[in-house]
Symmetry: C2
């Protein structure tokens, strides 16, 4: 009759982060074909005052990680933001997926009414778990995932919408 | 204890589509300041084989419209894809918001287990309402909304993450 908090969060994170990993395969193939260092992607930006590729991936991972930790009232593992290669970014993605899958479903289910505190520069923002997931986490997560994809497209990588939506039938 | 199907869809669409309308204000101000026709945005692309700005807005609107129509088992209003100005795109957004708000909540709630058929070139894709919303509609909707934002940023419009996440406290 409704969607549980776990079901509305973890499977979305796992699938989309896994998709990024697949996009990186194509990014590496493109770099090999055009004979440039794949690390060139890491500094790519879509505007001078937008964050570069590496940070887009780091923040996408953190959006998922902190969501799960806050909803489950557990401590998120700390990841140093020190990735300098695609291989290290893949590892960050893998660690994030492993973490969000490690938190028991029943720690997240029922968190829709839990009070969540999100640290912000202007002071903590308080909201209920449902609002946090729907109106803060999901827009933010998809923003960074989409930007990762668009950065690769903008740099000529052979991706299409089916790559963005990969894993749909597996998820069903 | 869980999120209803209406609550997990309509408020997200209304807020994010409304945010696009706000980004267009800044886009128009930027065009006026730099003395170019605002219609220049309409053909902007982030890669030659990505869809232009106008279609990104049209598809974001349609993602919301068709989601609501399919979940509610009602007919979506038909919008001709003939917008050639920002004013017409704003009208498209307004009509979409009006439509998704017009569908009674109880027509959408409980649709998580309803069989949804999504027409695709390769034939219809069948899935339950919950999977349709989580794994098809939301990624697709946010993809196009984010691309609208990124296209404006890429073209120098003075937007930031707070514009992307505008209306958060109102939504809470």
């Amino acid at each position: 009759m409704a969607i549980s908090m776990h079901s509305a969060s973890v499977p979305i994170f796992v699938r989309m982060l896994g998709n990024i990993d697949g996009w990186l395969d194509k990014a590496e193939a493109h770099a090999a074909e055009r004979k440039f260092e794949p690390s060139v992607y890491l500094g790519a930006r879509l505007a001078p005052d937008m964050l570069p590729f590496t940070q887009q991936i780091q923040i996408a991972c953190d959006a998922a990680k902190f969501c799960v930790a806050r909803l489950a009232e557990s401590d998120a593992p700390k990841f140093d933001d020190d990735e300098t290669t695609l291989a290290e970014l893949r590892l960050r993605i893998r660690k994030t997926i492993d973490y969000v899958l490690s938190v028991p479903r029943d720690r997240i289910d029922g968190s829709d009414d839990r009070e969540i505190s999100v640290p912000r520069r202007s002071g903590p923002l308080l909201m209920k778990g449902e609002m946090y997931l729907k109106h803060f986490v999901l827009p933010n997560f998809f923003f960074h995932v989409t930007t990762v994809y668009t950065l690769l497209r903008h740099n000529g990588v052979n991706l299409g919408k089916s790559d963005f939506l990969a894993g749909l039938t597996t998820a069903l």
